[in-house]
């Protein structure tokens, strides 16, 4: 099955009833469940601090719920977007994300050492790097699924082009610097190129190249000392008692002390005593570990597993390579980002500030996570047509 770029297909927009009927409810249900759990965790993590500061204890919860609603709206919008129009708009989307990344470097607000946020009115902020992930997925999928020869293998020129499409935003994000997002994007790039059917030498080349770049970056001193510390802290949690190691240590204590069933929401001493910094965003999983116990924390992994299962399933059943690569990109994105986030909470991955999709507090992350669902649903609906 080869679908040409310009093939005149009847582009009927599915009617609402069939849209809902053919929806992948398992996928959406899992994402929704994660979002609800995330909202509760964010609420528990923040209400104490807010009360102490004399603020509305529900303000983070409310903002998170607004983010969720907006995110779902984005998802609905993108899932109903015309498939080919999506392909057509991809270059524009990609260009916009590059502009966003450039803007953030010039006018961005520096938070936790990285210039990654664009401050918006009303206290909102945007992280262009999150949207860049989607732009990269769509851009690479578009290039690698271009009509090509019968061998069904991307030409080297396509692969190189796709790497260029990913490379520019990666470079811009590295300058911020946001190492975590770069790692996530690198995984996405690798996943998409692999599934596109590119020659094995490309995969080996990317791996070797990545190692070389990392080596040079450390040797030349492009990576700052704190970045190196963060990356190595997880191997020795006792080092840097008050700084990087402290976060992971406290997070691990919180999770470990949760036991099988946890202390109950709002009752975790580690959480309520603010022992774990950033526990509504990067370390939200520690709240789950302490207050919901193994049962709750494992449920989050299970729900992520369900989403990934559906994503791979959608990729396998996609009607064309573009759809497959989009779903693959989303799957590698979610899988690696979740592993990186939960792994750093559990002390088996370095601390890089990546949020846990759907669960962590943060507007951009929530929008991007739900846009990912929207993309998966779009590919899913297209396959059934």
């Amino acid at each position: 099955m080869t679908i040409g770029y310009a093939a005149p297909q009847v582009a009927r927009r599915p009617r609402s009833s069939s849209y809902l009927r053919r929806m992948d409810w398992v996928l959406v249900g899992a994402a929704l469940a994660l979002s609800v759990i995330g909202s509760l965790l964010v609420w528990s993590a923040t209400q104490g601090k807010l009360v102490e500061s004399g603020l509305d204890p529900q303000s983070f919860l409310k903002k998170n719920l607004i983010n969720l609603v907006v995110g779902i709206a984005f998802a609905v919008l993108i899932s109903r977007f015309d498939y080919r129009l999506l392909r057509a708009y991809t270059p524009i989307l990609w260009g916009a994300s590059i502009l966003g990344l450039l803007f953030v470097l010039v006018h961005g607000a520096r938070i936790n050492g990285a210039k990654a946020w664009i401050a918006l009115p009303a206290g909102l902020s945007l992280q262009p790097a999150e949207f860049a992930k989607i732009a990269i997925i769509l851009g690479m999928a578009m290039i690698l699924s271009e009509k090509r020869d019968a061998e069904n293998e991307p030409r080297d020129i396509d692969v190189a082009f796709a790497l260029g499409v990913a490379g520019i935003p990666i470079a811009l994000i590295l300058v911020q610097p946001d190492l975590g997002t770069v790692m996530v994007i690198a995984t996405i790039v690798f996943g998409i190129i692999a599934v596109s059917g590119a020659k094995a030498r490309w995969l080996i080349g990317i791996l070797v190249g990545g190692v070389l770049v990392a080596f040079v970056a450390i040797q030349v001193g492009i990576l700052k000392q704190y970045q190196l510390d963060r990356l190595t802290a997880f191997t020795d949690p006792t080092q840097n008692g008050r700084t990087t190691g402290y976060n992971t240590q406290q997070a691990r204590i919180a999770i470990g002390s949760g036991g099988m069933f946890g202390t109950g929401l709002f009752h975790g001493p580690q959480t309520q005593g603010h022992f774990v910094p950033e526990n509504q965003t990067d370390f939200v999983y520690s709240v789950a570990g302490e207050e919901l116990g193994f049962v709750g924390a494992a449920l989050i992994i299970l729900l992520l597993g369900v989403i990934l299962w559906r994503a791979i399933r959608i990729a396998l059943r996609a009607s064309d390579l573009f759809g497959r690569l989009v779903a693959t990109g989303v799957a590698t994105w979610i899988a690696f980002q979740a592993f990186e986030n939960i792994g750093m909470n559990l002390g088996i991955m370095p601390v890089t500030g990546v949020p846990l999709p759907w669960v962590s507090y943060g507007g951009t992350s929530m929008f991007a996570s739900w846009l990912a669902i929207g993309l998966l649903v779009n590919v899913h609906l297209r396959a059934q047509e």
């Binding site: 204590i253 919180a254 005593g273 494992a298 992994i301 791979i312 559990l346």
Partner: protein
């Protein structure tokens, strides 16, 4: 889409599954396998404990007079957490406070260092308690300064003034009793470490009363023996803190329970008399000349014990030299400690009464006489008492070479004939096989000595009692087992190191070693002879002598001496009454004991008695005094003789046993007996030759049978109280009249006005004896100390 693409997608799926499995596995390890480890870490993180020390219980005499009380001291404390919140971290406040206290900012800030955290010196300069409790920086501050700090909160944020209890020794009638009472010292790191180890091994649980960092614990005497009862239970407030170590809330709080009051059998007034008379005996010894050395007796130390013979109660027990127990209060200085432990001070910390071991001399004849009467000898037969007796190749002579001629047993005891015992002892020794001892020797004297409690601890309720030693066959065997090899080595090598300076002595030592190598374990006739008259290897404590004489006096019961009588809670409820404990029964017939009691009374009543002169004019008809003098040949050559006077009275119906010993003090009759007489005069109310029980130093003429009353507010009630109560609270109340009404109300409540504070102070001072009330009040008075107010 290519096969390759689908295959690679499948591989991707497998990789994703492996990531998920990794996460769940790690999660399981953290939360289920190692949950305990992290729960412990979490609680170490999140909880802090603030300890309110319990007020230590008082130590009372038998009538309720305080021997050890608590004095309230005005203390300035600084709350570190409150200072930390100030803009300049409290520099201005501390500078102001330093000026008011007449010290420097640096001095105060050193006191606020947490021991081990800062770089400063060890306790008591740094604070070894919790950093979450207000840290005392100055004690015994003037009242006007305390009032200023209480009132001008804005000038002294984070600083509070309050009352704290410290030990005080009211010293009724000049009583010292330092060896009985003991002292307090801070908990040591090793004790805390041992406690932690015991907790971890499960020997101690959280329910046990645990030592806190800030605790003072008894280090000797009653303070040590009854430490747990006196200490009470500290109040513990469990606080949750957040990551910034700021207090978030209170999890739980237990109120401090004041320690129980320890009621002793000691009578403060009697103790004062005994201490005075002991010192008089020492001075008497020093005024006499030793015929052998031509010098004054040194009278280097002494002890006196008064027991109630009917139950073993210790009514008084004194040791000289003594020391002022208040040197320990608030921490002893290095200089003071050196003074107490230096050889020149002759070790005043040691209680000669129960830790000193001395040759018993003729007081030991209570044992020999009992043994003789129970083993073939009678009271009325005639004993020869020549000036000396040859035993083997050794010549034993009477004291000062006297020869009273033939005597009966009673007179033999009264004149303290030694030579009659040599024959008896030698007989016993021969009966047991002499130099070829039978398999099961009877050893009647050694066995009797053990029945009287010699060679074993009496079990008095004071720590570190000495055992003494019976120099009989068992000791000889044990000594030989220990030293035989050394003796035989020395028999060969001699003493070359001694020979260089004193060849004569080296020869003597070698000769002894040669003999000892062959027959060191042999119990010789001379050993038995020495045993019979309390010389040689036998050593005893004055307390053992007193319990032995008390046993004969009461008809054969060897009581365990008891200093403590019972425990009363700080609210007046009786906690426990200690029953007398029997250590054993004398294997002596009633008739023989009756005979011995009357025989020993001849010591004071008959002109030939060794104690006759000192008791001339004493109303012996009403109060016959049974006694035995002792003049111990010193164990060390060059030392002077030990003076003993061991007694009980009235001999026909014994109530008290009184024993006095003066080391290097001369004769028993010349040095100790006059002091013992004075003690009896005080006990029975003797003036001249008239007896008036109402004049007895003991109220009512006898020891109290009941525990004294302690009021619900913790004030002990005792005769002559008002004056003494004031003595127990030496902090002068500034407005006693204003406090009178408030003192009646159990909880005066917080006052804010300056007059209110003035009124409240005496109330607090009045409650100083009771921890609870003072604390409750202090808490309500310090609303800005946040640890207290939440």
């Amino acid at each position: 889409m290519s096969e390759r693409s689908s295959l690679r997608l499948a591989v991707l799926g497998v990789l994703i599954v492996s990531l998920l499995v990794t996460m769940v596995g790690r999660l399981f390890f953290l939360q289920v396998v190692s949950a305990d480890v992290y729960t412990q870490k979490a609680s170490a993180n999140q909880y802090r404990y603030v300890v309110t020390p319990a007020t230590r219980g008082l130590i009372l005499d038998q009538l309720g007079r305080p021997l050890v009380a608590n004095r309230t001291s005005l203390v300035v404390s600084v709350d570190r957490t409150a200072l930390a919140k100030q803009k300049d971290k409290g520099v201005a406040v501390l500078t102001r406070l330093a000026k008011a206290l007449g010290t420097t900012y640096t001095a105060i800030s050193y006191r606020l260092e947490i021991c081990g955290l800062g770089s400063h010196e060890k306790p008591p300069i740094c604070w070894n308690g919790s950093q979450y409790q207000p840290i005392p920086v100055a004690k015994d501050i003037p009242q006007d300064l305390a009032l200023t700090i209480m009132e001008k909160r804005s000038d002294y944020p984070g600083v509070s003034a309050g009352l704290e209890a410290v030990r005080v020794f009211p010293g009724i009638d000049g009583v010292n009793a330092a060896h009985l009472l003991g002292y307090l010292g801070p908990v040591s790191d090793s004790e805390l470490a041992a406690q932690k180890a015991a907790q971890q091994s499960g020997q101690l649980t959280a329910q046990d009363e645990l030592l806190q960092r800030t605790d003072l614990i008894g280090r000797s005497g009653l303070e040590a023996e009854y430490d747990t009862q006196l200490r009470g239970t500290p109040g513990v407030k469990q606080l949750t803190v957040n990551q910034a170590a700021a207090v978030v809330g209170t999890v739980g709080e237990t109120q401090a329970t004041p320690g129980d009051y320890l009621v002793t059998n000691i009578d403060a007034k009697l103790q004062a008399v005994v201490e005075k008379q002991l010192y008089a005996g020492i001075l008497r010894a020093r005024s006499q000349t030793d015929k052998h050395t031509g010098q004054h007796y040194k009278g280097d130390s002494g002890a006196a014990v008064v027991l109630d013979v009917t139950n073993g109660h210790v009514l008084a027990m004194a040791s000289w030299p003594s020391y002022d127990p208040s040197v320990w209060v608030g921490g002893i200085s290095k200089k003071e400690y050196t003074a107490l432990t230096a050889p020149a001070s002759n070790y005043p910390l040691i209680s000669r009464a129960m830790q000193g071991e001395f040759v018993p001399a003729s007081t030991f004849k209570i044992v020999s006489a009992s043994a003789a009467l129970q083993n073939g000898y009678t009271a009325n037969q005639t004993y020869q008492c020549p000036a000396f007796v040859q035993v083997g190749n050794r010549k034993f002579s009477n004291f000062e070479g006297e020869a009273p001629g033939p005597v009966d047993l009673a007179k033999g005891l009264a004149v303290s004939c030694d030579t009659m015992w040599y024959k008896i002892a030698f007989d016993y020794w021969l009966r047991d096989g002499g130099n070829n001892p039978v398999a099961k020797p009877l050893d009647p004297i050694e066995k009797m000595a053990r029945s009287y409690g010699y060679g074993a601890r009496t079990g008095i309720d004071l720590p570190s009692e000495s055992r003494g030693r019976v120099g009989g066959r068992a000791f000889k065997t044990a000594l030989n087992a220990q030293l035989h090899d050394a003796w035989c080595r020395r028999a060969k090598t001699g003493y070359p190191e001694v020979a260089t300076t004193d060849p004569r002595r080296a020869n003597l030592l070698k000769a002894y070693a040669v003999e000892a190598c062959v027959s060191g374990g042999l119990y010789k006739g001379g050993d038995e002879v020495n045993l019979a008259i309390g010389q040689g290897d036998t050593v005893v404590t004055p307390l053992q002598v007193a319990t032995a004489f008390a046993a004969l006096a009461n008809g054969g019961t060897l009581w365990q001496p008891q200093v403590a009588k019972g425990l009363v809670a700080s609210d007046g409820k009786v906690v426990s009454i200690f029953k007398p404990k029997k250590n054993g029964t004398l294997p002596v017939s009633k008739a023989n004991m009756a005979f011995l009691r009357s025989a020993f009374s001849q010591v004071t009543s008959q002109p030939y008695g060794t104690g006759y002169n000192p008791f001339k004019g004493f109303p012996l008809a009403q109060i016959p005094v049974a006694a035995k003098t002792g003049t111990g040949q010193a164990a060390k050559s060059g030392d002077q003789s030990t003076s003993w006077f061991a007694t009980f009275a009235p001999a026909n119906k014994p109530k008290y046993a009184v024993v006095m010993m003066v080391s290097q003090g001369g004769t028993g009759a010349g040095t100790s007996a006059p002091s013992v007489r004075k003690i009896y005069e005080a006990l029975f109310g003797v003036t001249g030759s008239t007896v008036d029980p109402t004049k007895s130093v003991l109220a009512g003429g006898t020891p109290a049978t009941k525990l004294p009353t302690v009021l619900a507010d913790g004030t002990p009630v005792y005769p002559g109280m008002p004056k003494s109560v004031a003595a127990a609270k030496p902090v002068t109340a500034p407005a006693a009249t204003a406090g009178a009404n408030d003192a009646a109300s159990p909880n005066p409540g917080p006052s804010s006005s300056s007059s209110g504070v003035l009124v409240a102070l005496p109330v607090l001072l009045g409650a100083g004896l009771v921890g609870r009330r003072a604390r409750r009040d202090r808490r309500s008075r310090a609303p800005d100390v946040r640890l207290w107010s939440r």
